[in-house]
């Protein structure tokens, strides 16, 4: 049984009974303060405890209605959210574009208004256009939880990544720990959300990939090179895979999609694998205890070697399990966040 015994000091630090969570929606991790991220991590600990029980279900969201609205096919993420919601006893309605009137040309705004009229309280949304959940949140009276939008953000993935890293890094503290994310950074919402959360955690973050798939990221890195954004620090962007992996504590691969070849961004998958694949030889550059992560779904043999994906270093299945716990934590926290009062942030 996973348990958490908080010391009196930690209990006191947790603050008053009703303090802690002020966000009505969670669309990206960029709005989270470090104490709020810590609160999510602590609540996730509790959810992991529930998942270890004989009965993996609590009545916390009994009778609350969670709707998953997926404009992009993603069975794994949708199942993770829906499992999380059911573990909290919520009623789950699942909508995907293939079965909805979206295919008949209904606009996002109309769809959201219809779902609200049908009683949706928490809307978990996946969309292929960056920023779409902000539009949803503008018209939706309940809570929006972003399940990934375009290239922009994937906050639950970043938080489960952070949780998994903390579990595996000695002391659970990422400050000064080197994290390398390798792959198609340009098109990756996972990378973007991880930039916010990992720089907040104080990690030494390196983004690596072919120049065509890093486009624009150097401008972001340059803007933050002074570490000036409150709560966030500098990070590195490089095409040098060896520099990225050398002495890394955490190595994360990102999916390479075949469409990138048609777009003229990559010569071939073979060439990508030859230069950037996470294989045993390259990983020998990382620290001996380094862990390997991947948000899935994996192209084994392209961005990651099959033996690495199933090696003892791989925590990829931990990521999947932690994903349910993190999503339970966020559903729970959001369900209690009411309309922001005067002076409170709307986001």
């Amino acid at each position: 049984m996973t348990t958490v015994a908080l010391t009196p000091g930690q209990l006191a630090a947790a603050g008053p009974r009703f303090a802690g969570w002020h966000h009505r929606h969670l669309i990206d991790v960029d709005v989270l303060t470090w104490p709020e991220i810590e609160l999510i991590m602590r609540t996730t600990d509790e959810m992991k405890g529930i998942l270890a029980r004989p009965i993996r279900k609590v009545p916390a969201l009994n009778g609350r209605r969670v709707t998953t609205l997926f404009y992009e096919a993603s069975t794994r993420t949708r199942v993770s959210f829906e499992t999380a919601a059911r573990n909290l006893s919520a009623d789950v309605v699942s909508i995907s574009t293939a079965t909805s009137s979206v295919t008949k040309g209904e606009s996002l705004v109309d769809t959201i208004r219809t779902l609200e009229a049908l009683g949706a309280e928490i809307l978990v949304m996946r969309h292929s256009v960056s920023g779409a959940p902000y539009l949803a949140a503008e018209v939706f009276g309940g809570h929006v939880l972003n399940g990934g939008d375009g290239w922009h953000a994937h906050p639950t993935q970043a938080l489960l990544d952070l949780y998994t890293m903390r579990e595996n890094v000695p002391g659970g503290d990422l400050r000064g720990r080197k994290v390398a994310i390798v792959g198609d950074i340009l098109h990756s919402r996972v990378a973007r959300s991880n930039i916010w959360s990992l720089t907040a955690a104080g990690a030494d973050l390196w983004l690596c990939g072919p120049a065509t798939l890093l486009r624009g990221m150097d401008r972001w890195a340059t803007a933050w090179s002074g570490g000036a954004v409150p709560g966030h620090g500098r990070f590195n962007v490089t095409t040098d895979i060896e520099a990225a992996l050398r002495d890394a504590d955490v190595v994360m691969g990102l999916r390479i999609q075949r469409e990138r070849m048609q777009g003229g961004l990559l010569p071939s998958m073979r060439e990508y694998a030859a230069r950037f694949q996470l294989n045993a030889k390259r990983l020998s550059l990382a620290k001996p205890g380094a862990i390997v992560m991947h948000p899935g779904p994996m192209n084994e043999g392209v961005e990651i070697a099959p033996d690495v994906a199933i090696s003892g270093r791989s925590v990829i299945t931990d990521q999947v399990a932690n994903g349910v716990a993190v999503r339970m934590a966020l559903l729970y926290l959001l369900a209690g966040a009411h309309e922001a009062g005067p002076g409170e942030p709307a986001r």
């Binding site: 375009g150 973007r192 972001w220």
Partner: protein, 499 residues
């Protein structure tokens, strides 16, 4: 202020839009005459639609009159607007577009041919002219014809017939002239007719799927980048083709509209210095707004500019106050950086940019209340153009007289440079000239106004300035001697100041 002694029996209500202004006197206002280059305290009298007298005051008579109060300027001329008729009347009509123009102080508007059907033959122009006449608005509607038939980028439109029907130039705006080859033909043929090609300079190969200016903001927001190179590439293509065409047809003319990047403006600056007959305009939104509005900043471009000329970081500055991904910010070309906005201003000040044109692009809610990446491009801007330029004036970045010139003599001089329009009334100098038909705007720099959907006469409520106060409420617009717009409140609230 009120316009008195209307021609209808119930003159107490004042004249209606479209009626000749029988008599209008304004004492002690700040007059700006960009033709003579003079500005200062003065008085004007309009009688039977004619600007009867312009009196410049001095000494005691001028006491207390400043450039911070009621200002009189010549009516504005917009080189670039979309009135959507025929085909997209849900978004705008000639009537609503004209009303919006008058509310913005504009008395002449040149509209783009990307209608449905496209303005590629005289029949469409006739429809527009009849709609303008039917609207009753005295705002003069000029039009560009399409460069290519159906704006398809394949064959030339009915250019000669369009010229005979009165178009002032040719453009495939909304899109660039598709190929260099087609552009060369268009420049030659239009040049023969004494008219320009007005190009929307964009390399669409580089901008396919693009959502926002390629840079820091787009990277953070996960938006597909719209590279500077796309504009630079198109401008250099256009200039090279123009130089080539001029060898065969010396009357070939090129106007580059809504130039938005520092690099492209440098190219225009170079081309002008080399003597190429090219002109260009910049928009109010590229002067004053930046891409940092997409994540939620609402500060003016000059407030986002660091001392070293680079763009400040809105995240570092904690400048993000508005909800992100507002689709009213989606525009083509995209909002750029503070550095580019400063380059647009510098170009306006050094004459590289000949005019400010609004690229007024109204859209329906249906086309804008969608995901950012799927929203139609365009800002409904003809009513806010003066206000944002006056914000530049208020900030001390742009002299008032230069702002007025950019909206009057600037566009007029562009038309004066085209052989077929030179000497026509459209290319008239646009000053405060005694004895000419009254064509002027009166606005109060001492009074700001709130941009709201209701305050906009345009059907297009797609303005990122909604909810913002802008300086310089327009009190009165007279076009060609006839009433175009009168502020509903000015009859009472400004009676003391004006009469």
């Amino acid at each position: 202020m009120s316009v008195s002694e209307g021609t209808r029996p119930d003159a107490a209500l004042g004249p209606m839009v479209g009626e000749v202004v029988a008599r209008f006197e304004l004492e002690k206002a700040w007059l700006v005459d960009p033709v003579s280059g003079r500005e200062g305290p003065g008085e004007i009298v309009v009688m039977d639609g004619v600007l009867e007298s312009v009196v410049w005051l001095a000494g005691d008579e001028a006491a207390g009159v400043t450039d911070r109060g009621v200002v009189v300027a010549p009516g504005f001329f917009d080189l670039h607007a979309h009135f959507r008729e025929p085909g997209f009347e849900d978004a705008e009509t000639v009537a609503t577009g004209s009303a919006a123009a008058a509310h913005g102080g504009f008395t002449t508007v040149a509209i783009m041919p990307n209608t449905q059907p496209a303005l590629d033959e005289p029949g469409v122009l006739a429809r527009i002219h009849s709609a303008s006449k039917a609207s009753g608005s005295p705002v003069e509607v000029l039009a560009y014809g399409a460069v290519s038939a159906g704006r398809a980028g394949e064959q030339l439109s009915a250019m000669g017939e369009l010229a005979d029907a009165g178009v002032i130039g040719y453009s495939d705006d909304g899109s660039p002239v598709r190929t260099a080859k087609l552009l060369r033909s268009a420049l030659l043929y239009a040049g023969m007719l004494g008219l320009p090609v007005v190009d929307h300079a964009e390399d669409t190969e580089l901008t396919g799927g693009a959502e926002a200016h390629e840079g820091y903001v787009a990277s953070v927001m996960g938006l597909a980048g719209w590279p500077v190179a796309a504009e630079v590439n198109a401008v250099s293509r256009d200039l090279a083709v123009l130089a080539d065409a001029l060898r065969d047809e010396p009357r070939a003319r090129l106007h580059l509209t809504h130039i938005s990047t520092a690099a492209a403006l440098d190219l225009v600056r170079w081309a002008k210095a080399a003597g190429l007959p090219v002109t260009c305009d910049v928009t109010p939104h590229h002067l004053c707004l930046t891409d940092e509005w997409i994540p939620g900043s609402r500060r003016w471009s000059w407030e986002a500019l660091a001392a070293n000329g680079t763009a400040r970081d809105p995240w570092v500055d904690g400048a993000l106050t508005a909800w992100p991904y507002d689709t009213s910010l989606r525009v083509n070309p995209p909002l750029r950086t503070a550095t580019d906005a400063a380059a647009c201003l510098a170009a306006l000040l050094d004459g590289t940019a000949d005019a400010v044109a609004t690229d007024h692009a109204p859209h329906t809610v249906v086309d804008k209340e969608v995901e950012f990446g799927r929203a139609a491009n365009g800002i409904s801007g003809i009513e806010t153009a003066l206000g944002v330029l006056l914000a530049l004036v208020d900030a001390g970045r742009l002299p008032l007289a230069r702002a007025i010139a950019a909206l009057t003599t600037g566009p007029a001089s562009v038309l004066a440079g085209w052989p077929a329009t030179a000497g026509t009334s459209a290319a008239r100098p646009r000053g405060l000239t005694e004895g000419s038909p009254a064509d002027l705007v009166v606005f109060d720099l001492g009074e700001s106004w709130m941009v709201t959907p209701e305050s906009l006469r345009s059907k297009g409520k797609n303005s990122p300035l909604i909810g913002r106060e802008l300086p310089g409420r327009v009190l009165l617009t007279i076009a060609g001697g006839r009433l175009a717009y009168e502020d509903p409140q000015s009859g009472t609230s400004n009676s003391n100041a004006a009469e």
